[in-house]
Symmetry: D2
Subunit: 343 residues, 4 copies
C-alpha cells in the first residue's frame, strides 16, 4: 500500500517514517515538508540514515492524494482542517494527528483552540482503538487522540465505567517529556531552561482537558477532569498520575481486576500487578500503555492509578499506525513490534 505523510519533518512525522520503515504492508511514497524541501529524510532524521532513501517534497494536497492510497496528516492544529477535506473527498483514507477533528462539539474546539473551525461537515472517528475499534474499522477519517488524552483515558476508562468514584473530582496530574512540545526550539525547551527542572503549564486551560472529558462522558455522563500538565526533563515519555475519590468500599485487588477485565486481549495495554507502579522508561520507543498501582487509601477514600506511554508512539504516531492497521484490515500490531530499550 502506498502511504503519504503530510507534514513529515516534525517529531510525529519522523516517528511515522521510523515505524513505517519496518511495516511489511506499506511503503512511504511521499513525505512533504516545506522547510526541508529537497533534503534527504535521513539528514534530518539521522536515525534513518542508510534505512530510508527518500527526499522531503513540497507537494500540493491533490498531488499527495493522487500518489497515495493512505495519508497521514501530521500537520499542526488549524492546518489540518484546510487539508483533510480535500483528501477525504478524493477517496483516500486518512489518519489526522492534529486536534482539528477530535471534537464532537465544534464550540468546545473553538473555545480551547481559540480558532474558527472551517470544516464542520467533515466527521471523524476518534482513534482510540481500545474504545472505538469497531468504528475505526469502517472509518474513512480517523482523528488520532492527543498524547495526554491517550494516557488519561486509558487510565480512567475502566474506573469510570463502574459506579465507583466521584466523577466530578477526578484529578489527572500528567508529566510529559519535552518532545511533546515539538521539534521547533523555544525558550521553554532550551536545554538550559528545561534540564534539571519541572514546570507546570496551562494548569486550568489545556486543550486536552475537554478531549479527555468528551471520551469519558461517552462511558458515563457527568465526568469532570481536573487536568494539569507538566513538562519534565525527559526526551520522550508521558506519565499520568490519576487521583480518584471512591464512593464505595473496594480494595486494590478489586480495582486491579476491573482493569484486567477491561483490557483483556488488548495488544498494547499492559495491566501491571496490583500495587506495581509503571516506569516511564519501560515503554520508551514502544506502542505500549503500562497501567498500574490501583492502590486504595481507605483513610482518605481514594485510589491512585498511574498510566504511562511514549508520547510520540502510543501518544501519537504508533497509535496512528495502529489505527491504519485496523482501517486496512492489517494485523493490528504490524510495524509496532519493536522492543523498548532498557536502560
Amino acid at each position: 500500500m502506498k502511504v503519504g505523510i503530510i507534514g513529515a519533518s516534525g517529531y510525529t512525522g519522523s516517528e511515522l517514517l521510523r515505524i513505517l520503515a519496518g511495516h511489511r504492508e506499506c511503503e512511504v511514497v511521499c513525505a512533504t515538508s516545506r522547510r526541508y524541501e529537497g533534503k534527504d529524510v535521513s539528514l534530518v532524521n539521522q536515525n534513518l540514515r542508510g534505512i530510508i532513501d527518500l527526499k522531503f517534497e513540497n507537494m500540493t494536497v491533490s498531488e499527495v492524494a493522487k500518489k497515495s492510497d493512505f495519508v497521514f496528516c501530521a500537520t499542526p492544529h488549524g492546518t489540518s482542517m484546510d487539508i483533510v477535506p480535500e483528501l477525504v473527498k478524493s477517496g483516500v483514507k486518512v489518519v489526522d494527528l492534529s486536534g482539528d477533528f477530535r471534537f464532537n462539539d465544534i464550540a468546545t474546539y473553538e473555545k480551547y483552540y481559540d480558532k474558527k473551525h472551517t470544516a464542520h461537515d467533515i466527521k471523524a472517528v476518534y482513534g482510540l482503538p481500545e474504545l472505538h475499534r469497531t468504528k475505526i474499522k469502517e472509518a474513512e477519517l480517523v482523528a488520532n487522540p492527543g498524547c495526554y488524552p491517550t494516557s488519561a483515558i486509558l487510565g480512567l476508562a475502566p474506573l469510570v465505567s463502574e459506579d465507583l468514584i466521584d466523577l466530578e473530582k477526578i484529578v489527572v496530574d500528567s508529566k510529559s517529556g519535552i518532545s511533546g512540545a515539538g521539534a521547533t526550539p523555544k525558550p521553554a525547551t532550551h536545554y538550559t531552561m528545561a534540564a534539571d527542572s519541572v514546570s507546570a503549564y496551562k494548569v486550568t486551560s489545556h486543550q486536552h482537558m475537554p478531549e479527555i472529558e468528551q471520551e469519558l462522558n461517552l462511558l458515563k455522563e457527568g465526568v469532570k477532569v481536573s487536568f494539569v500538565p507538566h513538562i519534565v526533563p525527559v526526551i520522550r515519555g508521558l506519565s499520568s498520575t490519576i487521583h480518584v475519590f471512591l464512593e464505595r468500599d473496594v480494595s486494590t485487588d478489586d480495582i486491579h481486576s476491573i482493569y484486567e477485565d477491561f483490557y483483556t486481549g488488548e495488544p498494547f495495554v499492559r495491566v501491571l500487578g496490583a500495587g506495581v507502579i509503571p516506569r516511564m522508561s519501560a515503554v520508551r520507543g514502544t506502542n505500549y500503555a503500562d497501567i498500574g498501582s490501583f492502590e486504595v487509601d481507605y483513610d482518605r477514600k481514594r485510589a491512585v492509578i498511574v498510566s504511562v506511554i511514549d508520547n510520540l508512539v502510543k501518544g501519537a504516531s504508533g497509535q496512528a499506525v495502529q489505527n491504519m492497521n485496523i482501517m486496512m484490515g492489517f494485523d493490528e500490531t504490524e510495524g509496532l513490534k519493536s522492543i523498548g530499550i532498557h536502560p
Copy 2:
C-alpha cells in the same frame, strides 16, 4: 557560637556545612561521620575545597555536646531518637532534621515509620517558621520539617485557613529531585534508571502525608491530604502541584490576595503574581519557597497552586539554619542570602 553537626556526611549535613561556612555568627567545631572518620570534609564535599578546613570525626554524643553550643542532628529517622535526648539533657539547643520528633501523636509516627518510638517524653517545636515562629524562639529542640511537607504546607496554609475549599479532597502531587533520596547509591537513583524517566512511589503511604495533615489540621480541623510523591530527573528541587476543590465562588485574584496577605513580611516566601507559575530551577541553591498560579477553573470548581523549594535548602538544611537563627536571636536570614544560579 560553636556548632556541632552529627551525621555530617549525608546531603543535609553537607548543605549545613556549606551554609554555615558563610554564616557570620557561628563556627562549625565538629562534624561527625563514622564512614568518613579522619577524612577531610572537602574531599567528600568537593565544593568546600579551600573553604573549610575540618575533618570528619567519630565522636560520642556527649563529646559533641561538650564542644558545642548548638547541635544539628542530620541523622536518619530512628537514629535521632537515640541521640537527641542526651543532647537536650546536656543543655545544648538542637535542631533535628529527622522525622523522629515531628509528630504530636506517637502512634502516627509508629504507623508510618514502622518503628517503635523510644523517646516519648522529649517534646519538640515543629520548625516551620512561617507557622510557629514564636514557639521556635523559645524552643530548646526544633523538629525540622520534611521537604515535601515544607512545600505542601506553605502551599496550602493560606487556603486552609479560609472557609473556601473541600478539606477532605485536597490532592498534592509532588515531584522531587533525586538528592531527596540521599547520598547512598541505590538502584532507583542509579543514573541509568533515574535519568530520562519519572516514577511515582509510595502513592498512598508516604510518611510525609500525616506530617502535612498534622500541621494543616492545626489551622482547620478535618483536613485530609491525598499525597503522591514522584522522583524526577533533577538533582535538587521540589515542586508540588496542589489541586483543591472550591466551595465558594472566588477568583484567581482573590486567592492571590489571600496568599499575599498571609505571607506579608516573610523573608523566604515569594508569592508570585496571579497566574504566574513558579519554576523549580528559580530557587535552586536558595532558601526561598516560590508559590504561584492560584488559577481558578470555574467549570470544574477548582483551583491550582504550585509551590516550589530546593529540597536540600528550604526543604532541609536552609530551614534548619533559619530555625537556629530564630532560636538564637540572630538575623533570621543570616547565612541564607546566597543568590540562586540561573540558568
Copy 3:
C-alpha cells in the same frame, strides 16, 4: 537454535535478551543469574514485559552447556576464564563478552586487569567483524571487543593502514554513557553525582588502551594510543574524538575516501560525508558505528575523526549477536535491524 546466556541480569545480558527476542533463528532457553534466581526476566527488564516469558535460573555451566547449542558469557572480567574452558570443551560455540580472552599476550592482560590468568591454553578470535570476519566464521570461541576499543579501532583502522600519520602520537579522547559502568549502583553513577557533570577517569591506565593498541598493531606496527575515557551524563552512547598528526599532505576528502573504501559493504559502519560530524544519539539502540568529520587542519598538520556507537549494542551485545550470526552462517544483520529512535 537454542541459546544460553550466562550472567544474564546485567546490562549486556539484558541487551542480549532484547536483541535475541527479535532474532528469527534462535531461542533463548536459559538465562542465568544468581541474584535474580527464580524471578521473571521481565520484572528486572521491564521493557521485555509481555515479550519474553522466561525466568532467571541458577544453573551450573555444564547444565547450560547441555541445554544450549550456543552460549553467550556476559560474566565479569575474571569470571569468564573460569567458565569458558568448560563450555568450549563441551563443544558448544561461545561468544564471551568479558576482557578475559581478548589478549594475544597474557602478560598485558595480567598487567592491566591486575589478575592472574588461569586459562592460557584457550584461544579466541577477536570479534571485530570488520577486521576478522573470516576467522570469526571458523571460530569456536569469540572474544567480543570492549566498547571503547570498538569505537576507537573502527575509527582508526583505515588511517593506520595507510602511511599517513604519526603512529606514536594518536590521541583518543572518549566519552561514554553511564550504562557502560554496569547495572550495579556506585557513588560515581549515583544520579546526583553523574548528572550535570563530566568526569575523566583512569586517564593513563584504562584496560581498553592495550586492547586498542593490540588490534591496530596488527595493521601496522608501532602504534601507540594515548587514550583517556570520560563518563558523560548520557544513558547509552559512546563517542570517541580521535586526534591524529599527519605526516603527509592530504585533504579532508582524501581521508573521507580512505574510510569509504575501507568500509565498503560493511552492514554496520556508516561513513558520513566529509566534514559531517556524527551525533551520539543517532545510533542509540542500534548496532551502527557512525564515523565522520575527517577534517584536516593544515596549520597544525592534524586531522580529526569522530566515531560513535551505542556502547551496549555495537559496543557489546549487538556485536556479540553479529559475531554469532557470522559463526553460525546466519544473515549477519539478523536480529539487528531495529531502527534507532529520534529524538
Copy 4:
C-alpha cells in the same frame, strides 16, 4: 561605584547581575537590553526575584557612559567593536566580554571571526589575571578571555613555561555545558537534541583556538594547540582534557609541583593533588578553576592534565568581575566568595 551593563539579558549579563548583587563596592545603575526593554530584570532572571529591583532599559552608549563609572560590555562578537571605542573615549573603564579585543593580531581575528575589525586603534589588556595581573591593574580596557581559553590556558601555562613537552602536538579536548551557547534557543540546544548525547563541533576551526595559542606563545614560542570543542548535556561547566607528549623524563609528582609553584597564592586556582581528577560539578556557580591529574604515562611518553571551570563564572562573568576588582583596587575576591552547591 556605579556600574553599567550593556547587553544585560544574555547569560553573561545575567551572571554579572547575580554576582554584582552581592558585591559590596558597587551598584548596578543600568542594564541595557533592547529585547526586554521596560521589563523587570527579575522576570527574565527569576533567581533575582526579590533581590534586584531594576528594569532593563534601551539606552545609547553615551547615556550608559554618563551614568556609570565602570561598564561591562556583554555584547556579541562584532557588536562590541561598535560600542567600546565610545566608552573608552568617554573615560569610563571597561571590561568587554566579547572576542573583539582579545587579539594582538587583527588578521587572526578577521580570519577566525569572519568579519572586518573596525576599531584597530583601541588596545586592550587580555584579562587573565593569573598571567597579566600587573597590566590589568593599569588597564582602561580589559578584553575578558573566552571560556575555552580560560580553561585551556590555565591548564597549560605551567607546562608550556618549562622545556618539557612537544609544543607542536598539544591536544585540548574540551567539553562545554550548553549555557556556553547562549540564551537564544537553537536546534542544537533544543532539549531533545542536546540531552542524552554529546556532539563535537568546529573540530578544526573554533575561534578560541588561536586565542589559546596567542597567550601560550607569549610564554614560549612555537606552541600549536589542536583544539576540539564538544557540547555535553550539562547546564554549566567546562572541562578540558589536555594531552601532552613529554620530551624529558618527569614524574606525576614533578608535574604536580610545577603547577603548585606556578599558582601559589592565586585565589581562584585550586591545584588538586597528584593523580586527583577534578569534577566539573565541584566548581558549579563559582569562580574557581580546578586543575588536576598530572598523570604521566611512561610507555607513551605523555601526560594528562584536566582543567575545569564554570563556563559562565571563571569562563565569563566571574572573571570579568575579578578583572574589575583588580582594575579598581578592590579586594580581588570581592563578590566572588559564594560557595558552589553540592550535589
